[in-house]
C-alpha cells in the first residue's frame, strides 16, 4: 500500500469529489469490500449492533424497532426510523421569537382595549415587574384588517403574514402559565418548565433520525447579536445521547465549528491530507480487520469530509436565484440577516435535516417599554422572511411535509408597563394567553384556533398548553407521545413527562 502512496493519493484527488465519495462508499460499504471482514460486517449489521456511521453508509434501510430504542448495546444513530403511524410532517422549521411578541398588537385584535385606552383594567392581572406595573389599559396603536379567504385579522405590522394567511393557522390560546422567560422557554422548547431536559429537536431526531447522512440532523440558527435567554440550553440534548444535540450553525462565518479546513489547507491539500490519514488508518486496520469500531471510525472521516462539502453547499446561498433572494428580503437592510437564515433553513430541510430552529437575539421581543418604537422594528426584521419561507416551501411542494412555527415563549399584557408617557409605554409578560402561528406539516391551513378573554389576558377558549402543542406536533410526525420514551435513571422519560397533553384535533388539517 505504501509503495503506491503517490499513485493512490493522485488517484483520489484526480477524481471528482463525487467520484471520490463513490469510491469510498464502495470500499467502505457495499460493493467491493474485502471478503471476510465484509461478511462479518454484514452479519453485525443484521444484528443491529454496528455503530452508526458505517451502517449509515452501508445499509440505510436496516432498522428494526427503533422508536423505543434497544438499550442493549449503546449504539444510537441517526438513521431514519419508522414511526408509530403514518406521519404527515417530516421536518420542522421553528422561528423562535424569544422575548414574547405582543399578541394584541399582532394577531389577536382586542377592540375593547382601544375603547378603554388609559382606563383602569377591570380585573385581576398577573404582573411580572410590579415596580413598573400600571393598571391602566393600553390600546393597540396598530390597525387590524381581515386578510385572505379565511379572513384572519392581522395587524398592519405584519404585512408578510397577512399575505400568507390562508396557509397559516393562528393559535390565539397558547398557555404555559409560568411568567418568566427561562421557564417558559423550557416549557415551549423542552417540554417542561425545568431546565436540563432534551429540546424538542433532540426528541424528534432521537425518534426519527435524519434523512441525510451528510448534514447534522438538528440545526440551530442563532442571531448574530447573541444567544436567546437560556443560551445553549435551547438546543440541549439533556440526558439524551449527545448525538441528538442541536448543532449550532453560527450567524457568521465560519457557520459551523470545525467544519472548514484550517486556513493553511489551501488548494486540494486537505484531500491529500485525509488520504494520508486514511492510508494510516487502513494500514492500522489491516492488522486488526475484525475491529469494526476502527472501520466505523474510518467511515466517520468520510462522513466528516462529506459534511464539510455538503454543509458548505447547503449554506451557499449564491446558488439561489435573485428572485428567491428578493422574496426573502435578502439585500434589504432590515431583513437581510434573518432572510438569509430562513433561506438556509429551507435549504437544510430540503437536504434532509429534520429540525431547524431560528432564534432571535436575547429578549428581542421583550417590549417592557417603548413598544411603539421597538415592536415595529422587530416585526420588520422577521415578517417578510418568515412569510417568504412559507411561500417558498409551498412553491416547492415541501409545505405539506414541513411544519413551520413562528412564536415565542409568551405574549404580553393588555395594560401599560412603564406609564411615563406614551412613547415609553410597554407591556409586561403574559404566559396565560398568547398567540403564535403554525403552517404546513398537517396543521390546518387558514383561520384561527382558540381565544383569549376580551382583553387578551387569559386564554379562555380551546386552551393550548405547551404539552398539548407538543403532543399534537409529535402526532403529526407519526409519533405517539407516550410511546416515544427514553430510559433515564430507571424511568421511562417522555417529552411530556406525564403532563396531560392532548392531541388538539382543531389544529389538524
Amino acid at each position: 500500500m505504501w509503495t503506491r502512496v503517490e499513485e493512490r493519493i493522485i488517484k483520489m484527488n484526480s477524481s471528482s469529489r463525487q467520484e471520490l465519495h463513490q469510491e469510498h462508499r464502495q470500499e467502505f460499504g457495499q460493493e467491493t469490500v474485502r471478503s471476510s471482514s465484509r461478511r462479518h460486517f454484514l452479519s453485525r449489521v443484521a444484528m443491529g449492533s454496528i455503530p452508526l456511521s458505517l451502517a449509515a453508509l452501508a445499509q440505510k434501510a436496516a432498522h428494526a424497532e427503533p422508536v423505543k430504542p434497544n438499550l442493549g448495546l449503546q449504539s444510537f444513530d441517526l438513521l431514519p426510523k419508522p414511526t408509530h403511524h403514518e406521519p404527515q410532517a417530516k421536518a420542522m422549521i421553528s422561528m423562535f421569537m424569544q422575548g414574547g411578541p405582543s399578541q394584541m398588537d399582532l394577531m389577536d385584535p382586542k377592540p375593547i382595549l382601544n375603547k378603554m385606552h388609559l382606563q383602569k383594567f377591570p380585573g385581576e392581572i398577573k404582573y411580572d415587574n410590579a415596580a413598573e406595573a400600571s393598571s391602566r389599559i393600553m390600546g393597540s396603536p396598530y390597525q387590524f384588517a381581515k386578510h385572505g379567504e379565511c379572513g384572519t385579522e392581522i395587524s398592519e405590522l405584519l404585512p408578510g403574514l397577512a399575505g400568507i394567511v390562508d396557509d397559516v393557522l393562528v393559535i390565539r390560546s397558547m398557555h404555559t402559565g409560568v411568567n418568566n422567560h427561562g421557564q417558559s422557554i423550557h416549557a415551549m422548547n423542552n417540554g417542561r418548565t425545568q431546565k436540563g431536559r432534551p429540546a424538542l429537536g433532540s426528541w424528534l431526531t432521537y425518534a426519527l433520525g435524519a434523512e441525510t447522512d451528510e448534514l447534522p440532523a438538528y440545526v440551530s440558527l442563532t442571531d448574530p447579536q447573541g444567544l436567546p435567554v437560556e443560551g445553549v440550553l435551547n438546543w440541549s440534548n439533556g440526558w439524551l445521547p449527545s448525538l441528538y444535540q442541536g448543532t449550532v450553525i453560527r450567524p457568521v462565518e465560519p457557520r459551523i465549528l470545525n467544519l472548514n479546513a484550517p486556513q493553511q489547507f489551501t488548494g486540494k491539500s486537505q484531500e491529500k491530507f485525509l488520504s494520508l490519514v486514511r492510508l494510516l488508518n487502513e494500514q492500522h486496520r489491516e492488522q486488526r480487520e475484525r475491529e469494526l469500531e476502527l472501520t466505523a471510525r474510518i467511515a466517520n472521516y468520510e462522513l466528516a469530509y462529506k459534511m464539510q462539502a455538503a454543509a458548505s453547499e447547503a449554506l451557499d446561498l449564491s446558488q439561489e436565484t435573485q428572485a428567491t433572494h428578493d422574496m426573502y428580503g435578502i439585500g434589504v437592510k432590515e431583513t437581510d440577516e434573518f432572510g438569509k437564515r430562513c433561506l438556509i433553513a429551507r435549504r437544510l430541510v430540503e437536504r434532509g435535516v429534520r429540525f431547524v430552529q431560528l432564534f432571535t437575539k436575547n429578549q428581542y421581543w421583550d417590549h417592557h417599554g417603548t413598544l411603539q418604537t421597538r415592536l415595529p422594528a422587530s416585526c420588520k426584521k422577521v415578517d417578510v422572511p418568515a412569510a417568504a419561507l412559507v411561500k417558498d416551501l409551498k412553491q416547492r411542494g415541501m409545505l405539506d411535509s414541513t411544519v413551520v412555527h413562528w412564536g415565542g415563549e409568551m405574549g404580553r399584557l393588555p395594560v401599560i408597563q412603564n406609564d411615563t408617557g406614551v412613547a415609553n409605554f410597554g407591556r409586561d409578560h403574559n404566559t396565560y394567553g398568547f398567540s403564535m402561528w403554525v403552517a404546513g406539516g398537517g396543521f390546518k391551513a387558514g383561520g384561527t384556533y382558540g381565544a383569549t378573554d376580551e382583553f387578551g389576558h387569559r386564554a379562555t377558549e380551546n386552551v393550548v398548553n405547551h404539552f398539548d402543542y407538543h403532543r399534537t406536533l409529535l402526532h403529526l410526525f407519526g409519533l405517539d407521545a407516550e410511546a416515544l420514551t427514553f430510559k433515564q435513571n430507571g424511568r421511562e422519560q417522555t417529552l411530556l413527562d406525564g403532563q396531560p397533553g392532548r392531541i388538539v384535533e382543531g389544529l389538524l388539517a
Binding site: W239, S242, L257, S269, L276, L294
Partner: protein, 969 residues
C-alpha cells in the same frame, strides 16, 4: 451536554436479563416456583399496588403464593392448574393490568401461566407473617450477598509460562469454552498498553528503547513497578475514582451552576491517596467519616486531620442547589441527600439503593425502610431540617498566626484608608470651591451651605437649589474622578471668569471716573479713550495722563479695585491648582497602596467537608412515596440494609458517647471495610479489573443486583477480592497481580474462531483494542507535542464559554451584555493534564466532551464512548488540533535530528511507540513532496520554507488524527 451515558448505563441493565433468565425456565419446562420465577415479575410490576406499604387494591396481596390463591374482591387471582381460567392471567393478558404501566412481556406472561399450570408451587414453605422488608430465601441466596470465599487456584497443565494465579482461573474458564490464550504481545505493545493503563500518557521514545533493550528477565515487572511508583499514576487512577465520586468543581442543580472554589482539595486528596497506595479500607473510611476520626475543634489542624476532613468531600460531591436562590429549599436539600446516597451506594456497594427512596426496590431485596436507615446514618451531617448551605460547611485553614497577621495588616490598611479619606475630603473641598466659581455670585454661599448640609437636613429650597446645580450636588468621593477628568476645561472656565471679572473691573473703573466728571470734559475724554493707544498723539497722551483712573490696566487695577483684584488673583490661583491637580491619579495611587497592603494578608483556604454540628442527632422518618411532606409516624433508626445486616450484622449507634460526633458514619464505614462485607471488596476489585481490560467480571460496574450482570469469573473475582482484603486492601498489589499475569500481556488480535465463540472477549483469550478516554486523548496530544505541563495539584484550570457557546479553557471575562471578551489565554496552564481542568457541570470542555467525558449528575459508575463524525471534524479542523500539530512539528524538528526522514521517524515513534517501516517512511516523504507542491501551487506568495513547515505540521496532525494514536492494543 452529555448527560446520558452514566444514566443509561445505570439503568441499561434494567431491561434485558429478567426476561431471558425467566424465559429459560419457562421454556425448558422445569419446575416453575413462586420465589425464583414469579415473584420477581410481580414485585417489579404489581407489588406497588398489591401488597406494599399496606396498599392492597381490590384487597389483593400478591406478595405470597397463598395470598394469590386466596385472592381478593374478584375472587382467587389464580386457580392452581388452570392458567387460562385464572383472573391474574386474564388481567395481564388483556393489558388491563398493570394499569398505566407498560404491559408484561409475552415471556413474563408465559412464565406466570407455566407456574399456575404446574400447580402454583413455592420453593419452600411461606412465612406466617410478612413485613415490608420481607425477602425470600432465593433473594438471600443471591450471589452478591454471599461471603467472599477464597478457593484454591486451579491446577492446570500448560506450556505457557503463566506468571500469576489470575491466569489459572482465566485458563480454566477458557478451556471450558474450548479456548486457549493467545500469544504474548511484543514489548512495544506492552509498554504502550502499560503507560496508558497506569499513567494515561504515551511512553517517551527513550522509555520504549530502554524497555526493548532491557534484557533482564524481570524487565516487565520492573516496568510495572516503575509506573506504579510514578506520580502520574495517581492522576490516571484518581480520575477513575473521581468518576464514581461524581467529582465536580461546581454545584450543579441550578442554571447558575455556581463554582466550588475549594473542591479541588478533594481531587488532590484522591490523587495523593492513589499515589501513596493508601489502603482502600482507610480510603473508604476517611471519605465517609474522616470528620469522625478527627477531634474537635477543627482548628490548627495537623496534616493528617486536614487530610481526613478533605476526604469527606466525597460526601459533598452531589449536586447541591441549596446555596442558590430561587430553588425550593426543601426539595433541593432532599435531592442533595438522595444524590449523596446514590453516590455512596453505587460507588461502594454496587447497588442501586436509590431506587428504594420512594418504594421498595422493584428487583433487589432493598426495602424503603432500608433506604431510610442509611439516610439516618447520614442524618446528623445531612439534616434536611437544619441545613447548612455549602458556604457554611467550609472549614477555614487559618491558623492563629494567620489571624493575627491578618489583623495587623488590616490595621495598616485601615490607617492608609483613613489617610486617603482625608485627602479625599480635601479634594472635595477644593472641587466645591472650583465649581462654585462657576455659580452666580448671589448663589455661591447658599449653594455652599446647601451642599454642606447633610442631605436629610436640607430644606426644600436647598434641595431645589442643588437640583438646579447638579455640578455641585454631584460632588462626592465617588465622582471626583469625573471632575478630575475635566479639570483642564474647568481651569479654562475659571480663567475665563477671572479674565472677564478683570476686564469688567477695568471698564467699571473708567466708567465710574467718567461719571464724576462734567461735560464737556467727559465727552472729550471719552473720545480720547476711544482712540487706540498707539494712534494717540503726544498731546492726547499728556491730556489723558492727567486722569490716572482712565489709564487703568490690569497691573494698576489693584489701586482702584483692590477687592476685585484679589478675587481675580484667587481665581487664577484656583485655576492653576485645578489644572495641575490630578485627583484621580493621586487617589488611585493611594488606593493601590491600600490594595498592596491588603495583598499581604495570608490567603485563607477552606476545606469543603462533611461535618456534624455538636450533639446533633436528628430523628429520621421514612418519607411515604419519597415525599418529604409525608413522613412516617414511626422514626427510623440508623442501620444497615436488612439483607446485608442478615449476612454481617452491625449495630449503628444513634450516638457514640466516646466521640465528639454521633459516630454513625464511622460505625458504618468500619462495617463496610470489615473483612466479611460481601460487596465492598468485590466492587472495587471488579473496577480495577475493568480498567485493565475494558471489561469486568460483573460488567455492570455500578449494579451488582438482580438486574446487573452475573460475574463471568466468580471464583477469580472472589479470589482477588479476598487477596485484596488480606493484603491490607492494597490496591497496587491487585494491579501487580493483574498486570504481571499472562492474561493481561496477551496480544489483542481477534480471530474468526474467537469472534464466533466470544466476540465480546468475556473470557480473555486475548486483550482488547481500546480507545483512549477523552482526557487521555487530550493529554496524549499535548504530551507528544512536547508541551506537557506536569505541575500537580491545585486550583482548577478554568473553563469558559466562547462567543458561540463552545467551552474552551480560559478565564471568563464578560462585557456588559455578557458576551465573552477575548483574553490573553492561560499560557502554560493550557497544557496541564485534563484531570486538573475545572469540572463545571454545565460546561464540559469541548475537546473532552467530543470524546465523551461523562457528565456528573450525580456520578458516573461506568463510561461509554461514542464514535461520531464530530470527533473526526475535531481532529481534522479544530483550533486545538491545529495548534498542537504545529507544536508537535516544532518539537520533532528540535528532537528528531536534522533530516526530514529522521524527524518523521521520530514523530512516528513518539506518537505510536514503534519504529516506522521503511516503505511507510518513503510514503510520508512522497506525501511531503506532493503536498508541498500543492501548497505552493495554491498560494503563489508562499515560500518553500513556509510550505515545508506547514506540511510537517500536517504530517504531525495525520499522526494525531489516526486511529493508531487514539487506540491501544
Amino acid at each position: 451536554m452529555n448527560p446520558i451515558i452514566k444514566l443509561v448505563l445505570i439503568c441499561l441493565a434494567l431491561v434485558l436479563p429478567v426476561q431471558t433468565i425467566k424465559s429459560v425456565q419457562a421454556e425448558q419446562g422445569t419446575d416453575v416456583v413462586y420465589e425464583r420465577d414469579v415473584r420477581p415479575i410481580l414485585k417489579a410490576h404489581c407489588f406497588h399496588c398489591h401488597g406494599e406499604e399496606g396498599v392492597k387494591e381490590g384487597n389483593l396481596d400478591l406478595r405470597l403464593a397463598r395470598f394469590i390463591l386466596a385472592g381478593g374482591d374478584s375472587g382467587p387471582a389464580v386457580i392452581s392448574g388452570a392458567a387460562t381460567d385464572s383472573v391474574l392471567i386474564e388481567r395481564v393478558s388483556s393489558g388491563e393490568m398493570p394499569p398505566e404501566d407498560k404491559n408484561l412481556s409475552p415471556l413474563e406472561i408465559e412464565t406466570l401461566k407455566a407456574w399456575i399450570d404446574q400447580g402454583a408451587q413455592t420453593a419452600s414453605p411461606e412465612p406466617e407473617t410478612i413485613s415490608e422488608q420481607y425477602f425470600t430465601e432465593e433473594e438471600s441466596r443471591f450471589w452478591a450477598f454471599q461471603p467472599i470465599v477464597k478457593r484454591a487456584v486451579p491446577i492446570l497443565n500448560t506450556e505457557r509460562m503463566l506468571s500469576s494465579p489470575v491466569d489459572y482461573f482465566v485458563l480454566e474458564k477458557l478451556r471450558a469454552k474450548l479456548l486457549e490464550f493467545t500469544d504474548q504481545a511484543p514489548r512495544e505493545v506492552l509498554i504502550r498498553r502499560l503507560y496508558f493503563d497506569l499513567l494515561g500518557l504515551p511512553p517517551s521514545v527513550d522509555a520504549v528503547e530502554r524497555f526493548i533493550k532491557d534484557e533482564r528477565p524481570d524487565a516487565y515487572e520492573r516496568l510495572v513497578d516503575e509506573l506504579l511508583a510514578s506520580p502520574y499514576y495517581g492522576e490516571r487512577w484518581g480520575r477513575h475514582w473521581l468518576d464514581v465520586a461524581g467529582y465536580a468543581d461546581s454545584e450543579g442543580y441550578t442554571d447558575a451552576d455556581t463554582e466550588r472554589q475549594w473542591a479541588y482539595a478533594y481531587r488532590d486528596y484522591v490523587i495523593k491517596s492513589f499515589n501513596d497506595n493508601m489502603p482502600y479500607d482507610q480510603f473508604v473510611t476517611e471519605q465517609l467519616a474522616g470528620d469522625e476520626l478527627t477531634a474537635r475543634p477543627y482548628d490548627n489542624l495537623t496534616p493528617d486531620a486536614k487530610r481526613r476532613l478533605i476526604a469527606t468531600g466525597f460526601m459533598r460531591m452531589a449536586p447541591d442547589g441549596t446555596g442558590s436562590g430561587g430553588v425550593d429549599q426543601m426539595v433541593a436539600r432532599n435531592e442533595a441527600i438522595a444524590d449523596s446516597i446514590n453516590i455512596m451506594t453505587t460507588s461502594l456497594l454496587g447497588l442501586t439503593v436509590g431506587c428504594a427512596r420512594c418504594h421498595n426496590h422493584r428487583y433487589d431485596p432493598i426495602s424503603q425502610e432500608d433506604y431510610y436507615r442509611l439516610r439516618a446514618v447520614l442524618a446528623p451531617a445531612l439534616d434536611w431540617q437544619s441545613w447548612r448551605p455549602p458556604s457554611q460547611r467550609q472549614i477555614s485553614l487559618y491558623s492563629q498566626q494567620d489571624r493575627d497577621s491578618k489583623a495587623a495588616i488590616e490595621q495598616r490598611a485601615q490607617d492608609a484608608t483613613d489617610a486617603r479619606q482625608k485627602i479625599v475630603d480635601q479634594h472635595i473641598e477644593r472641587t466645591l470651591s472650583e465649581e462654585l466659581i462657576k455659580a452666580p455670585d448671589d448663589l455661591k454661599e447658599p449653594l455652599r451651605t446647601a451642599y454642606r448640609t447633610p442631605s436629610a437636613e436640607r430644606t426644600d429650597d436647598q434641595v431645589a437649589l442643588l437640583k438646579e446645580h447638579p455640578y455641585i450636588q454631584n460632588i462626592s468621593a465617588g465622582s471626583l474622578y469625573l471632575y478630575s477628568r475635566q479639570r483642564s476645561r474647568r481651569a479654562t472656565d475659571i480663567e475665563a471668569i477671572a479674565d472677564k471679572l478683570e476686564s469688567e473691573a477695568i471698564a467699571d473703573t473708567q466708567e465710574e471716573y467718567l461719571e464724576g466728571i462734567d461735560e464737556p470734559l467727559r465727552g472729550e475724554l471719552k473720545t480720547l479713550l476711544d482712540i487706540p493707544e498707539n494712534e494717540r498723539s503726544d498731546e492726547q497722551k499728556t491730556r489723558l495722563s492727567e486722569h490716572e483712573a482712565l489709564l487703568v490696566t490690569a497691573e494698576t487695577l489693584k489701586k482702584f479695585q483692590p477687592e476685585i483684584t484679589e478675587r481675580v488673583a484667587s481665581y487664577r490661583q484656583a485655576a492653576k491648582v485645578c489644572r495641575e491637580t490630578d485627583a484621580r491619579k493621586e487617589l488611585d495611587e493611594l488606593q493601590n497602596g491600600i490594595s498592596a497592603i491588603r495583598d499581604e494578608i495570608p490567603r485563607e483556604y477552606f476545606i469543603r467537608a462533611l461535618t456534624e454540628p455538636e450533639n446533633h442527632q436528628p430523628v429520621t422518618y421514612l418519607f411515604k412515596r419519597g415525599n418529604h411532606s409525608s413522613p412516617s409516624e414511626e422514626p427510623i433508626a440508623p442501620g444497615e440494609m436488612e439483607i446485608l445486616h442478615s449476612k454481617v450484622s452491625v449495630e449503628i449507634p444513634a450516638n457514640n458517647p466516646d466521640l465528639s460526633t454521633s459516630g454513625r458514619r464511622l460505625a458504618y464505614a468500619r462495617h463496610l471495610t470489615n473483612d466479611r462485607h460481601p460487596l465492598v471488596a468485590r466492587v472495587m476489585v471488579n473496577r480495577i479489573w475493568y480498567h485493565h481490560f475494558g471489561r469486568a467480571f460483573v460488567n455492570s460496574l455500578g449494579n451488582f443486583g438482580q438486574l446487573g450482570e452475573r460475574p463471568t469469573h466468580p471464583k477469580l473475582l472472589d479470589w482477588l477480592s479476598r487477596e485484596f482484603i488480606e493484603s491490607g486492601w492494597d490496591i497496587k498489589h491487585i494491579h501487580r497481580l493483574i498486570l504481571t499475569s499472562y492474561t493481561y500481556q496477551q496480544r489483542s488480535d481477534r480471530s474468526a474462531y474467537l469472534d464466533q465463540i466470544d466476540p465480546d472477549n468475556r473470557f480473555y483469550a486475548r486483550q482488547s483494542v481500546r480507545r483512549l478516554e477523552s482526557e487521555i486523548v487530550r493529554d496524549a496530544v499535548i504530551a507528544v507535542s512536547g508541551q506537557s505541563n506536569n505541575a500537580m495539584f491545585g486550583e482548577a484550570v478554568p473553563v469558559m464559554e466562547d462567543g458561540v457557546g463552545q467551552i474552551v479553557l480560559g478565564k471568563e471575562n464578560l462585557d456588559g451584555e455578557r458576551k465573552p471578551i477575548k483574553g490573553d489565554g492561560l499560557g502554560a496552564l493550557e497544557n496541564r493534564r485534563s484531570v486538573y481542568i475545572q469540572v463545571r457541570r454545565s460546561r464540559p470542555l469541548a475537546v473532552l466532551e467530543t470524546f465523551d467525558v461523562p457528565s456528573v449528575a450525580p456520578n458516573c459508575t461506568q463510561r461509554a464512548d461514542s464514535n461520531v463524525a464530530p470527533q473526526a471534524l475535531l481532529l481534522m479542523n479544530s483550533d486545538f488540533i491545529v495548534k498542537y500539530s504545529q507544536l508537535f512539528a516544532k518539537h520533532i524538528q528540535q528532537a528528531g535530528g536534522e533530516s526530514l526522514e529522521s524527524q518523521i521517524a521520530y514523530a512516528w515513534k513518539r506518537a505510536y511507540g514503534q519504529e516506522i517501516a521503511t516503505d511507510v517512511l518513503k510514503g510520508f516523504l512522497d506525501f511531503q513532496v506532493m503536498q508541498k507542491q500543492e501548497l505552493l501551487q495554491a498560494d503563489s506568495k508562499l515560500t518553500p520554507e513556509a510550505a515545508e513547515e506547514t506540511v510537517l505540521a500536517m504530517v504531525c496532525q495525520a499522526l494525531l488524527a489516526s486511529n493508531q494514536f487514539i487506540y491501544v492494543d
